[in-house]
């Protein structure tokens, strides 16, 4: 089904290209070259393209996990973006304030600080959900924008700004930086380029560990069982003695910690400071597509993050080589979301008309994204 959804999106995307007078073959060739380094005609360096894809892949995995975990508890975390920004801000603030500390102390500090900030950001939504039943979709949307404006405040004329008018923060100390995988040395030539242009960094391992921790937590721990129980039915979980409130709050805290980690790793591994680039960051929203396309499993999330990482990198090459706006990638992403959510592929397979005969239950392998909607209508826990 996920593969079908992606194919569906690419077919519709090609149609949109044709209708608007763009060449879909050139567009997709650009995406493949840019994202995977395959079939490049304009002298792009394949190794560099793959390195860039991995740089995008890293935060997508970690935030993808941050969306997928609450899904299992029947919670829809739209706030990965805000939590990521909170993590970036905390990482930056700590990395600037304690810039002189050595790496063995400072690096854990900025990463844990980022996780804590993300956890607090998501925890607000979790507590509001558990206590007064405020829908986490709405609260996390609001928290996203609060975080976005907080970043603007901090680095445009605010306390973290490097110098007036620069719209970026001071850089974090050297001890707060994650090492790149290749030596940051201009004299070393790797794959025909100076090694320092390859930005792929050791955050890759952090992201993969995060995915593994997610799977372990969900399937091998008592708490993971509780998360899944709450996601299946809050009522049944309550009868089984699970504290639904506690599970909701803890799930959001952990999810926020993952997103915050993604933000901290992005600062520590790639950017080294907060810039205006973060105003338009969409990683936390892409993560929703990653989690849905990955069917909420760790392996699926890794594969989906690779796809979106490659699309992200490929978009730039498509724009420069084929002259087609990289925003086609957003269109494809939206089409993938539509397709997964509406199960167009299943509807087509069953024959039209349009899934009227669709079973009201979700397929069991799906994360209970729609299931949460039924829970949303139930009064908040404890009020019944």
């Amino acid at each position: 089904m996920p593969v079908g959804s992606v194919l569906f999106a690419f077919v519709i995307g090609a149609l949109i290209c044709v209708v608007t007078g763009a060449n879909p073959i050139a567009a997709y060739a650009g995406l493949v070259c840019g994202g995977l380094g395959i079939g490049c005609t304009q002298g792009e360096n394949p190794a560099l393209q793959i390195s860039n894809t991995i740089v995008f892949f890293i935060p997508l995995v970690t935030t993808g996990v941050a969306v997928a975990l609450p899904f299992r508890a029947g919670l829809f975390n739209i706030g990965a973006e805000g939590q990521l920004l909170a993590g970036s801000v905390a990482c930056c603030a700590i990395g600037i304030k304690f810039a002189d500390l050595p790496a063995p102390i400072l690096l854990p500090m900025v990463l844990v600080g980022g996780m804590a900030a993300g956890a607090i950001w998501a925890g607000i939504a979790g507590v509001l959900k558990a206590t007064v039943g405020a829908h986490e979709v709405v609260t996390t949307i609001m928290l996203n924008y609060v975080a976005q404006w907080l970043v603007r405040f901090l680095i445009v004329g605010g306390p973290l700004e490097l110098a007036p008018g620069t719209s970026k923060s001071h850089p974090i100390g050297a001890g707060a930086q994650l090492p790149t995988l290749l030596p940051a040395d201009n004299s070393v030539i790797i794959f025909g380029l100076p090694a320092s242009v390859f930005r792929v960094h050791s955050g890759l391992f952090i992201a993969l560990v995060a995915a593994a921790v997610f799977a372990f937590l969900l399937w091998r721990t008592a708490f993971g069982y509780e998360i899944r129980a709450v996601g299946q039915s809050q009522k049944a979980a309550r009868y089984a003695g699970v504290s639904v409130r506690r599970t909701i709050v803890l799930t959001m805290l952990i999810a926020g910690a993952f997103s915050g980690l993604a933000g901290a790793v992005q600062i520590a591994g790639v950017d080294h400071n907060l810039t205006d680039k973060f105003f338009n960051d969409t990683t936390g929203f892409d993560a929703i597509a990653v989690a849905l396309l990955g069917l909420g499993s760790a392996v699926g999330i890794v594969l989906a993050a690779l796809l979106f990482g490659a699309l992200h990198t490929g978009g730039a090459i498509m724009q420069s080589d084929a002259g087609i706006s990289s925003n086609l990638v957003l269109v494809l992403q939206a089409l993938i979301l539509f397709s997964i959510a509406a199960n167009f592929v299943g509807a087509i397979r069953r024959g039209l008309p349009f899934g009227r005969r669709a079973s009201p239950e979700l397929p069991t392998e799906l994360p209970p994204a729609a299931g949460l909607m039924t829970e949303a209508a139930v009064p908040p826990p404890g009020k019944t």
Binding site: I124, L128, A134, H135, G158, S325
Partner: protein, 316 residues
């Protein structure tokens, strides 16, 4: 730091309140759309994307035909078409309405810039001429009322239309049979179906209406307040409208009051030379206020009972 006197002085200028009303109307239109859609039981977080689509097509049409009325019509239809996608996906296919809403917003953000690139190449979109904008209209005589006249009767044409739509939405939702049907479908679709109402038709109409209103708001933004299209020019206003809808507890006038509060924040932001608070901190206010409302500190905000639930005929 400026004195309290400056702030008080600012609050007593008609200019500030005039700007407040205009900013509020920009939010009111999609918020009304959200109220209608959610009252019928379809969660709508896609006003942002519908508004953006409206803004884009308003500018494209205005540049092509040099007629703001035609351009506004195109914008309204474009918003309606986006809403139709949301309706088909979430009503017909019973998709998760939040995922569909997010997808609409991403789709609109991507498609508009993609089309800018297809239509205008790498150049700017271009600017709409001053005579091709939605006009500001002084209501004769009434605009002579001291203070109040400038605030209410010296406004863009869309402001008057929006205020009429506000009253109309309230009357339709709470004083007519149609409104009763919309609310019935949003509270208990099974009962409504049993009573002979066509749940699908009512929900489709409600969702598409939200797109029409959001499209109008997009036109007001692009060829009323501004005169061009820039990528992502709605800048979260559709989400503030969503906040206003919740803040106003899913009622038209409640949403309007929320829009006025948020609009005042925007107007103060624009007059920031007087008040020395970071505009970025002020921009957080709508979201923070909504969180406070959601936290139940100002009474409970309860959505319609069947909000977000796809309707499956024959289900209990």
């Amino acid at each position: 730091m400026s004195g309290v006197g400056d702030i008080v002085h600012l609050l007593f200028t008609a200019n500030l309140w005039q700007a407040t009303l205009a900013a509020a109307v920009l939010l009111l239109l999609p918020a009304l759309g959200g109220v209608i859609s959610e009252r019928s039981g379809v969660v709508n977080i896609a006003m942002e994307g519908m508004m953006l689509t409206g803004a884009f097509f308003a500018v494209v049409a205005d540049l092509a035909w040099h007629n703001p009325w035609l351009a506004t019509l195109v914008a309204i239809v474009a918003g309606g078409l986006m809403a139709t996608i949301h309706a088909v996906v979430s009503i017909q296919f019973r998709a998760d309405q939040i995922v569909s809403g997010i997808a609409i917003n991403i789709f609109a953000a991507g498609l508009t810039v993609f089309l800018v690139n297809r239509i205008y190449g790498l150049q700017d979109v271009g600017h709409v001429g001053p005579n091709e904008l939605l006009p500001y209209v002084d209501i004769p005589a009434l605009d002579q009322i001291p203070f109040f006249g400038q605030v209410v009767f010296d406004q863009n044409i869309v402001v008057y239309i929006a205020l009429i739509l506000l009253v109309a939405t309230h009357i339709v939702l709470f004083r007519t049979r149609l409104g009763l049907r919309i609310r019935a479908v949003g509270e208990h679709p099974q009962a409504a179906d049993t009573a002979g109402l066509n749940v699908y038709v009512i929900r489709y109409s409600a969702v598409i209406t939200s797109g029409l209103l959001s499209g109008l708001s997009g036109a007001f933004l692009a060829i009323g307040i501004s005169n061009t299209f820039v990528p992502n020019m709605t800048d979260g206003r559709g989400y503030i409208a969503l906040a206003a809808m919740i803040f106003g507890k899913w009622t038209p006038f409640g949403a309007f009051i929320a829009c006025l509060i948020f609009g005042l924040g925007q107007a103060i932001y624009d007059n920031n030379s007087i008040i020395h608070v970071s505009p970025y901190l002020l921009s957080m206010l709508p979201y923070l206020l909504t969180l406070i409302v959601l936290a139940g500190l100002v009474g409970r905000a309860t959505p319609p009972a069947a909000d977000g639930l796809p309707y499956v005929p024959g289900s209990e």
